[in-house]
């Protein structure tokens, strides 16, 4: 059993289920070598100062709160559901199978008569997040009976013809079970949380913040690209107008010519509009390149 609060070791909880693969992805992109045992229960990384631990996020959240773990990556909705008291040090944009936010929704069978939340008055609602669900319906002034169910709730909603509250990412599971979204309760994303006590430990805090910075940098780099191009002096003003930069593009004059080398970083989605425009106004040698980390 882990002893509480080891000195100069950061004990890190990693989600073992829905957020598992993308969390491992991010750790690797952040620059760590990740090893998962054959059983899939044990995770180690090549930093002797970080001890990793797989578990469900419900448990990870509790264990950070009580100090068994220093930090963990946990879904925000879980923190609210469980009323976890811990320091939130970072948030990341990804969900199960997506690099986007996860939603907590009220879903009902497609062929049910429920059209609005009001129609659920007096109904039994299944939920994987009962506290959050009760609070939501209270705010909506709709009286329902909330029944806690465990993963997955979609199968139960389909079989027993009940409304259910669950996480959704791509919407695939809802479709598989003939469910449709009636309302979105909240958008949620993974957070890195830290135990309130070990947050006061300067070494641990810095270690955790550095890790969060690298993970966030790796995550952001997935959304952005680098751009290099050559621009003649006369075009410079126009090009700079088109380019949105993190600060300002780096502009260097090419040796012996009246041409400049422009280097910048832009949003991937912007790139597909910006690059053709740059080409059109006369920029040359445009190179788009992938980024590994972006830290703003």
């Amino acid at each position: 059993m882990p002893t509480k609060n080891k000195k100069n070791i950061l004990r890190l909880g990693i989600p073992a289920r829905a957020l598992r693969f993308q969390t491992i992805d991010l750790l690797e992109l952040a620059g760590f070598t990740v090893n998962v045992s054959a059983s899939g229960h044990k995770i180690t990384i090549d930093d002797p100062e970080i001890e990793c631990f797989f578990s469900k996020t419900q448990e990870l959240a509790e264990w950070v709160e009580n100090g068994m773990l220093d930090v963990a990556i946990v879904q925000k909705a879980r923190l609210i559901e469980q009323g976890i008291k811990a320091k939130e040090i970072s948030e990341f944009k990804y969900g199960n199978g997506i690099w986007d936010l996860t939603r907590v929704v009220v879903a009902v069978p497609c062929d049910s008569k429920f059209k609005t939340l009001k129609d659920l008055q007096g109904q039994e609602v299944f939920s994987r997040l009962p506290n959050l669900t009760k609070k939501f319906f209270e705010e909506q002034r709709v009286k329902v009976k909330v029944t806690r169910v465990t993963y997955p709730s979609e199968t139960k909603a389909e079989m027993f013809d009940k409304p259910t509250v669950d996480f959704t990412n791509t919407g695939n599971t809802l479709r598989e079970h003939d469910l449709r979204v009636l309302a979105v309760i909240m958008e949620t994303s993974p957070r890195m949380i830290m135990n309130n006590e070990t947050f006061q430990d300067k070494w641990k805090r810095e270690k955790a913040e550095n890790l969060a910075m690298l993970l966030k940098g790796a995550r952001l780099a997935k959304d952005m690209v680098g751009l290099m191009l050559h621009v003649s002096n006369g075009l410079m003003v126009d090009v700079l107008k088109i380019l949105p930069a993190m600060k300002k593009p780096t502009v260097t004059q090419l040796r012996g010519e009246n041409v400049f080398d422009v280097l910048t970083v832009i949003d991937k989605k912007q790139a597909r509009e910006v690059v053709p425009r740059l080409k059109k106004i006369g920029a040359t040698d445009i190179v788009e390149f992938p980024l590994e980390k972006v830290i703003i």
């Binding site: 910075m213 940098g217 680098g226 300002k248 980024l291 830290i295």
Partner: protein
């Protein structure tokens, strides 16, 4: 294969084809069992190959070791080893107890050498594989390869001793090594592959820093080659660009951020060895 790809070679493999295509007209590739590669390299049938040091020893192949690549099947940087193992409940407690016993192994020569070093006389039987299953019925002990020990544990075997630590080597045929053109080609390819295996591939870091904090930041990156420092037009900021090893980035980036850098970007765009 992964490392060759990372090193910038395009390799196309189709199922069942043992001669993958590579986008370098000066190279021909063959997919062969690691056991056979040292032999072909030593005979000069292959100019260069990648093989485990275990099979090089086993076949006593005369080759030129170009690089120790140090990657095994599952884990990078952790050597696989050939170990002497016996059943958990075996009366054999050390290699000395093997006098006159039977040892099964895929690496007969390596095992014989090991026994000779230990001054133990035992019978070494060649094993085609699945050696873990052999003791206690078919042999008293085995010399088998392990990385994580999982397969040994699953078969209730315990390790008595390490016989040979094996690492992956990039080897060249002595004949090819004497040919200046081939040697240069081998060295160039080997350098690219080696860089990636060792995580030595360079990564490029760019950041913006105010004039006031520039000195502090330059101290942090001292020793990572000369950084390019450019003044950004119009504001009191500098653009900093330097290269470091991939592994160092995860320590340098937080340090840079803490020292006041903004817009830190890491990319591998500018690959320069």
């Amino acid at each position: 294969m992964l490392f060759l790809r990372k090193a910038g070679f395009d390799i196309y493999i189709t199922p069942r084809v043992c001669q993958p295509k590579i986008d370098d007209p000066e190279m021909d590739c063959f997919l062969l069992r690691a056991q056979e590669i040292p032999k072909y390299v030593s005979l000069g049938k292959l100019d260069v190959g990648i093989a485990g040091s275990d099979w090089i020893c086993e076949q006593k192949a005369k080759i030129v070791e170009v690089y120790d690549l140090d990657f095994a099947k599952k884990t990078v940087g952790k050597a696989a080893k050939w170990v002497l193992a016996v059943p958990d409940d075996s009366p054999i407690k050390s290699v000395k107890d093997l006098q006159g016993k039977v040892i099964a192994s895929e690496v007969v020569e390596v095992t014989k050498n090991y026994l000779k070093r230990k001054g133990v006389k035992a019978k070494v039987e060649f094993s085609w594989g699945a050696s873990e299953a052999k003791p206690p019925l078919f042999a008293d002990a085995v010399v088998d390869i392990t990385e994580t020990g999982e397969s040994l544990r699953a078969n209730n075997l315990k390790i008595l001793d390490t016989v040979l630590e094996t690492t992956t080597k990039l080897i060249a045929s002595p004949l090819a090594w004497r040919d200046p053109w081939k040697r240069e080609k081998i060295e160039t390819m080997a350098m690219l592959v080696y860089g990636h295996v060792q995580g030595h591939q360079m990564t490029n870091i760019m950041a913006h820093i105010s004039q006031r904090q520039l000195e502090d930041v330059l101290k942090i990156i001292k020793g990572f080659g000369a950084p390019a420092v450019k003044k950004i037009a119009g504001i009191n900021y500098y653009d900093l660009s330097f290269r470091c090893k991939e592994r160092q980035a995860r320590e340098l980036i937080p340090a840079l951020k803490r020292a006041g850098c903004e817009g830190i970007v890491q990319s591998t765009a500018f690959k320069i060895s």
